[in-house]
Amino acid sequence: MEPLLSILVGLFFAAAIYLLLSKFTIRIMLGIAILGNSVNLLLFTSGRLTREVPPIIPAGLDSLPAGAANPLPQALILTAIVISFSFLAFLLVLTYRAYQDLGTDDTSQMRAAEPDDRPLPPLGY
């Protein structure tokens, strides 16, 4: 399973980086969404992968049976999902607002904070 998932993670990263290199903000947002998910898969793969053995301690025992899933990556991913989801929501709103205010979704034209015709500092006294 690990090799398959690793290849999938690699594909996700490739797609995310391709989209992040775009100059249109909406594509960058899609790239960020994919990037977040690929990292979650990476975290998931970095714990061991098992099939259908939930990490529940049976009655009468006080340790996990052998071959159970590793609960820690799941906890980590849960945290990472919540965080990346909230960030994506914020960023989408910010992007939309930027599109409204700046009138473009092309990052090469988003020069409000750094206009092209900024003056030089005075060169003489």
């Binding site: 992040l20 960058i28 990037l35 980590l76 904070a113 003056p119 005075p122």
Partner: protein, 524 residues
């Protein structure tokens, strides 16, 4: 049928004794900030009450961090573990001298910023939640400095990041939206890179506790891809800290928000990146850190020079200060690259000690510089160098205060910027890295020219239009004066701080005390 007896001795994995009261200090800064932030959010209909409570809370944070620093300085690292699970299972907050020093200084900067905000942030800004966001930002910053768990560090990075998003768009101007978009996307990518590193770290070590990682790194060297990990962390933290060549988001954004927000960002956020870099490169993966030191040194030299040259080319003083922030980051990176003790200057304090001292100085100085920029705009009517003038004639006191800050930023004696630069240059020369020493000195020289021109144009030049500034209050004057007093104090009486930075660096180079604090019975 009797239940099978346990093969596991649970008392070895669980805390059975109650946590000593003093250990709560390790998490108290974070708990304090989050709780107070929640209360402030509920008080948004009462802006005056909210502001008063926020200032009291920030003062409380300074006291808590001071108590924590005193305790750590006296007794060594302090560990508090969550959820009764012993490390490495429970999430540990481990405070060593480095974390406590940075947390204390950041609390001082935040208190100064909070007081300044009373004048700078109007009623609508308060209703949009300036003070709750500030408390949340401080929760993130303190958490990042105090935590002893790598995934937890990622979470605190995100906490401070989301609150910084809120702060940066306070005002909703076009420039702010544009700057915030670039800031948000690039910082989010940096933290995601960090999270990728965390995933690989977990795959390699099976643990995310910093002490556990530091103890095991030696055994895994050769089998685990530690070099890949170190490079990933380096890229992620360098992006956070705005090191060349991943620094261009900083000058694009730091001049857009409210001046007090810029001040806090410049003072605190980039230093969190440097802190994480020091923690990973020096304590967790020291061998890989050494191997990468040439790369870090090259990035450091480029950052110093690019920052200083950028400052020379700027007309807007806020953008000029943004480049000064970048140049300072280069100096700290140079310290990280130079590594452990070198030379016998002030008791063998090496590059790491210099970087720590520089970070502490920079937190205070950068906050003060941006607050001074706000004051310059209030007195001179804008941020453009080409329009400013006559500030010296207007107020001699403010001119003297600014001059202190400028000299400290250039690294000239007798102010706080002098000592870390001396240490770094000395450490570089001792290691035979003359080019790095030359870069540090050249950066200081170019910075001096930039500040000299700022002083000449804005202060000495006669004013184009004679202006009478709006009335200043203690709200802007007090924090600026207090921070300047700190800058002077660090410069004139550096012994105590030098000793503290040195023991912080020593604690990183030899983390036995840190390990013992997390695993009192030794690492399993």
């Amino acid at each position: 049928m009797a239940a099978p007896t346990s093969a596991v001795d649970l008392s070895a994995a669980l805390i059975t004794a109650p946590v000593p009261i003093g250990h709560w200090l390790a998490v108290l800064p974070v708990v304090h900030c989050i709780a107070l932030g929640a209360v402030l959010l509920m008080l948004r209909a009462y802006p005056r009450l909210q502001a008063g409570l926020a200032i009291a809370g920030l003062a409380g944070l300074v006291l808590i961090d001071a108590a924590l620093l005193a305790k750590v300085a006296a007794e060594g690292p302090l560990t508090m573990v969550m959820g009764r699970w012993l490390p490495p299972f429970g999430i540990a907050f481990t405070v060593d001298l480095l974390g406590a020093l940075l947390a204390f200084t950041s609390a001082l900067a935040a208190l100064a910023g909070g007081i300044y905000a009373l004048a700078d942030i109007g009623e609508s800004g308060r209703r949009y939640g300036f003070f709750p966001l500030l408390m949340l930002l401080m929760a993130g910053v303190s958490g990042a400095f105090l935590t002893g768990d790598v995934f937890n560090l990622y979470v605190w990075f995100e906490v401070l990041l989301i609150s910084s998003f809120g702060l940066i768009i306070l005002g909703s101007e076009r420039e702010q939206i544009d700057g915030a978009l670039k800031y948000a996307v690039l910082n989010l990518i940096a933290t995601t890179l960090f999270l990728i590193g965390v995933g690989i770290l977990y795959a390699a070590f099976g643990t995310l506790n910093m002490a556990d990682i530091a103890a095991r790194a030696g055994d895994l060297r050769g089998t685990a891809p530690l070099m890949t990990l170190a490079s990933l962390f380096l890229l992620a933290f360098a992006m956070k800290a705005a090191a060349f060549p991943v620094n261009f988001w900083l000058p694009a954004t730091y001049h857009t928000p409210r001046i007090v927000v810029s001040a806090l960002f410049a003072g605190l956020l980039t230093k969190v990146g440097i802190y994480a870099l020091i923690r990973v490169m020096v304590m967790l993966l020291p061998v890989e850190g050494k191997e990468l030191s040439l790369v870090i040194a090259l990035a450091a030299a480029a950052t110093i020079i690019v920052g200083a040259l950028g400052a020379l080319a700027e007309n807007d003083i806020r953008r000029l200060f943004g480049y000064i922030v970048i140049s300072g980051i280069g100096n700290m990176l140079a310290g990280v690259a130079l590594g452990g003790p070198g030379g016998d200057l002030v008791g063998g304090i090496g590059g790491i000690g210099g970087a720590v001292f520089y970070a502490l100085h920079s937190m205070v100085l950068m906050t003060a510089l941006y607050l001074a920029a706000g004051e310059i705009a209030r007195r001179g009517g804008g941020f453009a160098l080409s329009d400013l003038g006559g500030l010296y004639r207007q107020s001699g006191g403010f001119t003297a205060l600014s001059l202190v800050l400028f000299l400290a930023a250039c690294g000239l004696p007798p102010f706080s910027g002098f000592w870390p630069k001396v240490i770094l240059v000395k450490a570089a020369l001792d290691l035979g890295a003359g080019w790095l020493a030359a870069a540090i000195l050249a950066g200081g020289f170019l910075t001096t020219i930039a500040f000299g021109r700022l002083f000449l144009l804005a202060y000495w030049r006669p004013a184009p239009v004679v202006r009478t500034p709006s009335k200043a209050g203690w709200r802007t004057g007090l924090p600026l004066a207090a921070l300047t007093a700190l800058v002077i104090g660090f410069g004139i009486l550096p012994e105590r701080l030098l000793a503290l930075s040195q023991s912080a660096a020593a604690g990183l180079a030899d983390p036995q005390a840190y390990l013992h604090s997390v695993f009192p019975g030794g690492v399993q």
